[in-house]
């Protein structure tokens, strides 16, 4: 290729890259800018508003008499549910993955296939039954129910962790067993410390999974003050879309921040996670 052709090609590539970058950033920038915009409408003359204000962020945490937007409560609810689901869900998932990866027992492969298929089954298809069960247990409209539902399903997503445990050499355990370590000791003292990366990965994905879930949160949480961010923000923009848009924008920015930060941190695990889930099993 001639050098002129190379320059052409590179220039074209840079133009394309810039265009894609604009497309990627624009919606995010737009919502951030809208959250600082004076007024409350969706309509805006320019991307960068002429006047900036922090009023909408303040409004989120103030008590209003005319509209019920207990944003701080929603935030706290979401945080509570996500942290509890993270702790329990990670434990369940690690336990399942460890048992399936490190031990050979009857029905193991059947169990794996079953978990895989059940994991593919969209959880909310069973929601009528879950709903009625929670109603019977008197758990409807509680955060505990939400945590229970997230935790109960966590074993279905154990394949990434299982793939990781598969790569820990058996000799490590055997050496420990020679020294008289029990299964419990090996699990807590040897395998778990070796598995910090995968535990981090699972904990963070479980956390963000609970943080962003919309379907079950909407089903289980009835009272406005019990809602999570996903339900609250959806209802906010669904019912007040033209009159409360900037407030929604501010709420969305605050809701997105923790998960966006997590994902940027998780980037490096992402490839491992995706490939492990599919090819390594």
């Amino acid at each position: 290729m001639t050098s002129a052709g190379k320059v052409m090609k590179l220039t074209l590539s840079y133009i394309l890259l810039t265009l894609i970058a604009v497309a990627c950033l624009y919606p995010a920038l737009w919502i951030i800018m809208s959250s600082f915009k004076v007024g409350d409408s969706l309509f805006s003359e320019t991307l960068i508003p002429s006047e900036l204000t922090l009023q909408h962020y303040r409004d989120l945490f103030l008590v209003h008499s005319d509209k019920q937007i207990p944003y701080a409560t929603w935030y706290w609810n979401t945080l509570k549910v996500a942290v509890m689901s993270m702790l329990l869900g990670t434990l369940f998932q690690i336990m399942t993955a460890y048992a399936i990866s490190r031990f050979r027992f009857a029905g193991r492969k059947t169990l794996m296939s079953t978990l895989l298929v059940l994991g593919m089954f969209p959880g909310f298809m069973s929601m009528i039954a879950v709903y009625i069960m929670l109603l019977q247990l008197n758990l409807l409209n509680t955060h505990f129910a939400l945590i229970l539902v997230y935790t109960a399903g966590s074993a279905l997503h154990m394949f990434v962790a299982k793939g990781f445990f598969d790569t820990i050499p058996k000799s490590v355990e055997e050496a420990a067993r020679m020294d008289g370590a029990s299964h419990t000791t090996i699990f807590w003292r040897i395998v778990l410390p070796l598995s910090k990366p995968i535990i981090t990965y699972i904990a963070l994905t479980t956390f963000s999974g609970a943080w962003v879930d919309f379907i079950f949160a909407k089903l289980i949480l009835r009272a406005r003050e019990n809602w999570t961010l996903a339900v609250g923000l959806f209802e906010l923009v669904d019912s007040y879309s033209s009159t409360e848009f900037t407030l929604f924008a501010a709420g969305a920015v605050l809701a997105a921040l923790p998960v966006a930060a997590l994902f940027i941190y998780l980037q490096r695990f992402l490839v491992d996670g995706l490939t492990a889930g599919a090819t390594k099993g």
């Binding site: 969209p122 929601m127 074993a155 997105a256 390594k280």
Partner: protein, 450 residues
């Protein structure tokens, strides 16, 4: 060892212990264990059996009958004294759930029973050989050591059992009833078994069938298009970044991953407002250039285009990250050899890069396809299934099978139809994922490392 066994077997009084123990255990759980002098274990088994008998007598039998009849007394107004009062009848759906739980308990009981008989027989054999059976404490430590995986699995599997398996069974049952609004919603009315009627209506009854085939077709078009656009989009962007001569590769990569980092429930709600026909900024820009603007979410055709476009925005980063990872694993000497032979860039891509990517990502591609069939968020948060379609029963133009199911359940209480659709989706998804999984390396060669 052999010698010892022979001498022991020669002793008449010791023979037949295994059979006796097994028979006793068939008679009643725990008797064989007690006969084997494993008193604590035997008493434990006996207690479990007593609890079961109590449970069977008090409620289990009734629950099973309820599962068959689904109740026969509807809620009615009855004259009590001088006043009419609403007297509660049977609640078919609760009866169904209790019946299912009863069935589950019976399955557990049967497996315990089988285990109990086998345990008695095995320990009987041990005794026939003249050896001592394990004491309770020994059994306990034996169990905790050898059944460690079972202990680890028990709690997570209990969760899966009650919040995934039981609801799925319940859903399957529901598809064979007439549980739907307006005439068959408990506690006001009873629900009856109707066999395959729901499926029949879904396939043949005019309005249901036209909705079903329409939504199914769109679901498949959507899943194929969404998967392919994100896949090839991801490959394209990754190759663009990885080109020789492009500077600041990691900066581009970080920029392009931003859409993936924003929670879906937020990004779709943002997009919905960005693409608002009247006030959305996208159409404002169109108008600024003197153009009409597009009815992004208001027109059935454009709404479909829009969901695919928006999905690309969310999905391409994932494929990009994946492909970037794979590109680094392709051996450099392949390209060097190709260059020696004078291959063009296109030939290099066609014969080296693409086969490599496809080989590593094929399973993921299939899973993404399956996932897209169930892509609830993009449709529900972006369009809610709208714009409306007059020919459809309870579905809009962009509804997928899953969002239709959701609407049938939550908004319209047509539980039987929702369940039937759920079963159909489940069959499609399960076929794909099982086929995919059985072919994957992990299932066949998982013992490679170790």
């Amino acid at each position: 060892m052999d010698l010892q066994k022979q001498t022991v077997n020669a002793g008449v009084p010791l023979a037949g212990k295994a059979k006796t123990a097994a028979l006793l255990s068939v008679l009643s759980m725990g008797l064989g264990q007690i006969y084997n002098r494993q008193y604590a274990k035997g008493i434990l088994f006996l207690t479990v059996q007593c609890i079961y008998i109590y449970y069977i007598v008090t409620s289990l039998a009734g629950n099973l009958v309820g599962l068959v009849t689904l109740g026969d007394t509807p809620t009615k107004l009855k004259k009590v004294g001088k006043l009419y009062k609403n007297v509660a009848g049977d609640h078919s759906i609760f009866m169904m759930i209790y019946g299912l739980v009863a069935l589950l308990f019976i399955v557990i009981l049967i497996s315990l029973y089988v285990y109990n008989v086998r345990d008695a027989y095995r320990n009987g054999l041990v005794r026939e050989q003249g050896k001592r059976t394990r004491s309770f404490l020994e059994s306990y430590s034996h169990v905790t050591q050898n059944s460690f995986p079972v202990i680890l699995l028990s709690l997570p599997m209990l969760g899966v059992m009650f919040f995934t398996v039981l609801p799925i069974l319940f859903m399957v049952l529901m598809a064979f009833t007439n549980y739907s609004a307006p005439d068959h919603i408990p506690a006001k009315n009873l629900v009856d078994w109707v066999g395959f009627e729901t499926f029949h209506n879904l396939f043949y009854l005019k309005q249901w069938a036209s909705t079903f085939y329409g939504v199914l077709t769109w679901t498949i078009i959507w899943a194929v298009t969404a998967t392919l656009t994100c896949y090839f989009g991801g490959i394209f962007v990754a190759l663009l970044i990885q080109q020789k001569g492009i500077k600041m590769k990691s900066l581009w990569r970080s920029l392009f991953i931003i859409p993936y980092a924003i929670p879906q429930f937020i990004s779709f709600l943002i997009m919905r407002n960005l693409l608002n026909y009247q006030f959305g900024p996208v159409n404002q820009y169109f108008r600024y250039f003197g153009l009409e603007g597009l009815p992004w979410l208001n027109d059935p055709f454009w709404a479909k285009v829009t969901v695919i476009l928006v999905n690309m925005w969310v999905g391409i980063p994932v494929s990009m990250v994946l492909v970037l990872g794979i590109l680094t694993t392709i051996p450099k000497d392949l390209y060097e050899a190709a260059e020696m032979d004078g291959a063009s860039n296109l030939q290099k891509f066609r014969n080296i890069t693409f086969p490599f990517i496809l080989f590593s990502t094929a399973p993921i591609l299939i899973m993404q396809f399956a996932g897209n069939i169930n892509n609830f968020n993009v449709i529900y948060l972006l369009t809610k299934g709208l714009p409306a379609n007059g020919d459809y029963a309870f579905a809009g133009s962009t509804d997928l099978l899953v969002t239709w199911l959701y609407k049938l359940t939550l908004d319209n209480q047509r539980y039987n139809f929702a369940s039937a659709i759920g079963i159909i989706i489940f069959i499609i998804i399960a076929a794909f994922s099982l086929w995919n999984y059985r072919r994957s390396r992990s299932f066949k060669e998982e013992d490679m490392v170790q």
